[in-house]
């Protein structure tokens, strides 16, 4: 130690830095020394193994991959962010620097906010980096439309809220055990809300299975951001409340500052409470969750698109996002469509339509033939198209409807109509016995019955002969004037 004040030690000349204000310099210092960069590799690895691979297991649809983000942001980033933030929040208590810091001119609240910002900043940067990689990969695979940003916002708000709650826990209960306990508490909180997702209140959890988006969101209809807005309101409210609470204790600063902090905390709680209340008013609509107070009717408008069509006589037309599936769908329906081409009542085109509800998406929707000229409107999604048995599944749904539209079958159909239907289906390669197991409502004729025998006979005809007979006798067949014996 020296009594005289020496000149500052000579240093290597450095590039001139842009001078930072006090908060900026504090932030720079905290960014260098926060614990978060040390655990980021673990978090990123976890996201890579868990979230990224899970998202990439879906076909490249924004509506399938982006909903993974809020869930994995909570599990991978917010949980560990809460732990790391709790560690940083408890730093002063653990390091016994409270006396030293108690006498500094900068209010404690301001100092804590800088520390939280540094910790959260690292977590947020890593999260956004992972989002960028996932979105870039999805875009490279030719996903149709633009990437949805609301799931990203919900995830970011989740990261901020997790870090804020953890930091506040650490600051109020400084102990080496606070970090793991905060991580556990955030995990339990998230999963508890997820577990209660049977009511619409449960929808508000970012890890709730029933998210804001439907698999076809962004394809036929715009994304409905209502629930995402509500989730951001909840998570941001929790973050603001936790950060505001840090400034309320007497040691946090002056009276004015503490009152401001209390107001901030109260505003955060009001926002979170409002979000929970709004979630209670939510209702499930075909294309997402609608919260009346947040709903913009413009969001529900269909998205215009030009379908991609095959070149068969009865072309199959799909949404351009499903372009890759066009050959498979055309091949699956082709034999049957060629049987009915040119017949009165046959559809002139097969068009893909959106599912009307999530159940339809999982089980396959009901196709219909309607309009003049008749169109086969076929609800299709990746759940059907990506499965191994897509041909059988498509036929089980579409074939009975197509044949029925031509022959005029149904509950009141006569024996000849039933036999002609079954014969056409068998001629197109449909396994009648398997239709019921595929979920079809079609009732095939019982083996050994006269209808079955006639159907077998009709199916055995050469395709051209069958087609010619139908052209000549279809009107009589539909009117019920043809008997089983008259069927060739």
């Amino acid at each position: 130690m020296t009594a005289a004040v020496p000149a500052a030690p000579a240093r290597r000349p450095r590039a001139r830095r842009v001078p930072l204000a006090l908060p900026g310099r504090l932030l720079r210092l905290e960014l260098r020394r926060t614990i978060m960069p040390w655990i980021l590799p673990l978090i990123v690895a976890l996201f890579w193994l868990d979230g990224y691979h899970y998202a990439m297991s879906f076909p490249p649809f924004w509506g399938l991959r982006s909903p993974v983000l809020p869930d994995r942001a909570m599990v991978d980033f917010a949980l560990f962010g809460a732990g790391a933030s709790a560690w940083m929040g408890s730093r002063d208590g653990r390091s016994r620097t409270t006396d030293l810091l108690a006498i500094t001119a900068v209010p404690r609240w301001g100092r804590q906010l800088v520390t939280w910002t540094a910790t959260t900043g690292w977590a947020m940067a890593a999260y956004l980096g992972c989002v960028a990689v996932l979105y870039w990969s999805t875009a490279r695979q030719g996903a149709w439309g633009g990437p949805p940003l609301w799931p990203v916002a919900v995830g970011a708000a989740g990261v901020a809220a997790g870090c804020a709650l953890g930091f506040a826990a650490g600051a109020f209960f400084p102990s080496r055990f606070t970090a793991p306990l905060a991580t556990l508490a955030v995990f339990i909180l998230a999963t508890a809300v997820k577990g209660g997702s049977g009511s619409t209140y449960g929808l508000i959890s970012p890890v709730a299975p029933q998210g804001s988006f439907r698999p076809d969101s962004g394809l036929f209809f715009h994304y409905l951001p209502d629930l995402s807005i509500d989730q951001v309101l909840l998570l941001a409210g929790l973050a603001v409340a936790a950060l505001g609470a840090l400034g309320v204790p007497a040691a946090s600063g002056g009276r004015w500052l503490r009152r401001s902090a209390a107001a901030v905390a109260a505003a955060g709680l009001v926002a979170a409470g409002t979000a929970i209340g709004l979630a209670g008013t939510a209702r499930l609509e075909p294309y997402g969750v609608v919260i009346p107070a947040l709903h913009d009717a413009a969001s529900a408008r269909p998205i215009p698109y030009t379908p991609v069509c095959g070149h068969a006589a009865i072309p199959v037309c799909l949404h351009p996002a499903y372009r890759a599936y066009l050959p498979a769908v055309t091949a699956a329906l082709g034999p049957l469509l060629s049987e009915v081409t040119g017949l009165p009542g046959a559809p002139v085109r097969v068009v893909q339509v959106a599912y009307l509800n999530p159940t339809e998406f999982a089980t396959g929707g009901a196709p219909t033939v309607a309009g003049r000229p008749a169109l086969l409107r076929l609800p299709l999604g990746f759940a059907v198209l990506a499965q191994q048995t897509q041909t059988e599944f498509l036929l089980s749904r579409a074939a009975p409807v197509i044949v029925s539209s031509v022959i005029g079958g149904g509950p009141g159909a006569g024996p000849a109509q039933q036999a002609a239907e079954a014969g056409l289906l068998r001629a197109a390669g449909v396994q009648l016995a398997q239709l019921a197991s595929m979920g079809s409502v079609y009732q095939p004729p019982a083996p050994g019955s006269p209808v079955y025998a006639a159907a077998t006979r009709f199916a055995a005809l050469p395709a051209a002969a069958r087609h010619a007979w139908l052209l000549a006798h279809l009107a009589a067949l539909r009117a019920g004037h043809i008997t089983l014996e008259q069927l060739p």
């Binding site: 130690m1 006090l22 020394r33």
Partner: protein, 248 residues
Amino acid sequence: MNVEIVDLTRRFGRTEAVAGVSLQAGPGVFGLLGPNGAGKTSLLRMLATVIQPSSGTLRLLGRDPGSYGPRREIRRRLGYLPQNLGYYPGFTVAEFVEYFALLKDMPPSRVPAAVATAVERTGLGDKARAKLRTLSGGMLRRAGIAQAIVNEPDLLLLDEPTAGLDPEQRVAFRALLRDLGERATVIVSTHLVEDVGAACTQVALMDAGKVVFYGTPAELTARADGTDAAGDAPLERGYSAVLAAVRS
């Protein structure tokens, strides 16, 4: 006067740690002596605005620290080394000192030079980039002193600053104290009377929460005259004589 305290009291439950202390101190080095549990640390913590007095009047640097605004202004001009120095093990010496310089609201443009100066003055120039977790106890103490003096405080409060320092470092530290005392009020709490004798212009001796002696080191030494007080040095014998007289 940078420090004016009148009838200052601080209670912790039923224990009266500081019992009606009145003192004044201007620029110079002021020694605070006393046995363990005498109330030195409690008095210093009140002067550092860490804790508030239970009763009495306290004015620091001409301001009342009871109000937030004046307290904040005092804190800008205050340096404090607590008895138990807490630190962030992952910070380097320079970062630790810079952190407190910024928290003391120093103009950011002045911080780098002030940090370099404080680190050099405490003899840690070659350890500026070393992590605090790698330092010895004496070096950590000096890092604590560096953060206390980085803002060139008008009021510097040091609680057992020489604990853990080797003899050479203590000699250098006393010289630093004398230099700081040229313009600032430096209050040093210690139970090492040789530090007081070497560096302080005024000394107060506390016992059981009260100031039982106030004067110069020479006057404290003179209290041993004509007594058989125990001690290896004249100042030590004066210290023992005062305590013996108070307790008798």
